[in-house]
Symmetry: C2
Subunit: 205 residues, 2 copies
Amino acid sequence: MLEPLDNLIHALSRLPGFGRRSAERAALALVRRPETLLDTLVQALQEAREGVCLCSKCGAFTTHEADPCPLCTRADRDDGLLCVVEDPADIHAIEAAGAFRGRYHALMGKLSPGRQTGVGELRIAALAQRVKAEPIREVLLALSTDLEGDATAGYIAERLRPTGVRLTRLAFGLPCGSGVGYADPLTLRRAVQGRQSFEDAPPDA
Amino acid sequence: MLEPLDNLIHALSRLPGFGRRSAERAALALVRRPETLLDTLVQALQEAREGVCLCSKCGAFTTHEADPCPLCTRADRDDGLLCVVEDPADIHAIEAAGAFRGRYHALMGKLSPGRQTGVGELRIAALAQRVKAEPIREVLLALSTDLEGDATAGYIAERLRPTGVRLTRLAFGLPCGSGVGYADPLTLRRAVQGRQSFEDAPPDA
């Protein structure tokens, strides 16, 4: 295989949902139709690169002109309710489910010894700061239901407990070993509605 | 959703194997990690755009420096055997199967009234020219086993019959309604080994 094609296949296969075989098919289709497929994709990537950034407050996707983002500034949302997620994409997924009317805070990952993600890599200090400075009465931990997500939730609960804020997590409507980004809107809506006190839930339910 | 993100999702969802949902996940991952994922992909796309072209003789992917491509010029391949495919990617698939040692000719599509692809859009005249000018004794029609592929094979057979060249097609090891690019190497190898005379095969076997 030609080296530029190999590199393109490799770059595509790093995207979520792409295996080697599908990356190969996509790469060949792109090179086969440069004017329509490839140029359009390059332009869309460059415009997204320049036009989209992360909200400095909650971490959601936004534009440089709207930072903090509308989710942080809109008056019709509940300032007392803060939803903590791993990734900006999770905010989009919960918004699409339409079941949450508070504010958001993206950690930018979860505690993961394997991937060298410790407390310092995550936006946990910024979260503690927000809980202290804002009129937040409840923190909803909308994290993955795998081991690393549970460990992250446990660490945050420990750290926020002295503030007296109410800690909840998404109902166990989520399938175990999965993440927020994979759930369908109905499952997400039910999980938000049935959210549980972090203290009451059995440790390995 | 932000407009640049929407455009990126749309551009990704046009790639083969990508649905709306997987394009969304890939777009968010790209924007989330611009330095590692997005910039690498843009660079790989641009290098493939500049570095890869189609061989002027057979239509396979090659570089501007190697045109005609190695498949056309290498001395260890059989000049008397010509494999006709729809798409450059099909050449790659057959090469990966390792069962064919002749030359190639990509038509750049198949006859398709629905997609406005007629005889003039395909490299059929160039094929007839090659059969006349080169010492070709057998043309292997390695086209899709759907209606349009069959129609294309029928048209080419009709057109090449006066030259007296032997016409074969891939054995019906391919699943019906499918294309060369989808087959696994073993199926492809068996289909090349069991290739049949175009005249002998029952019309709707």
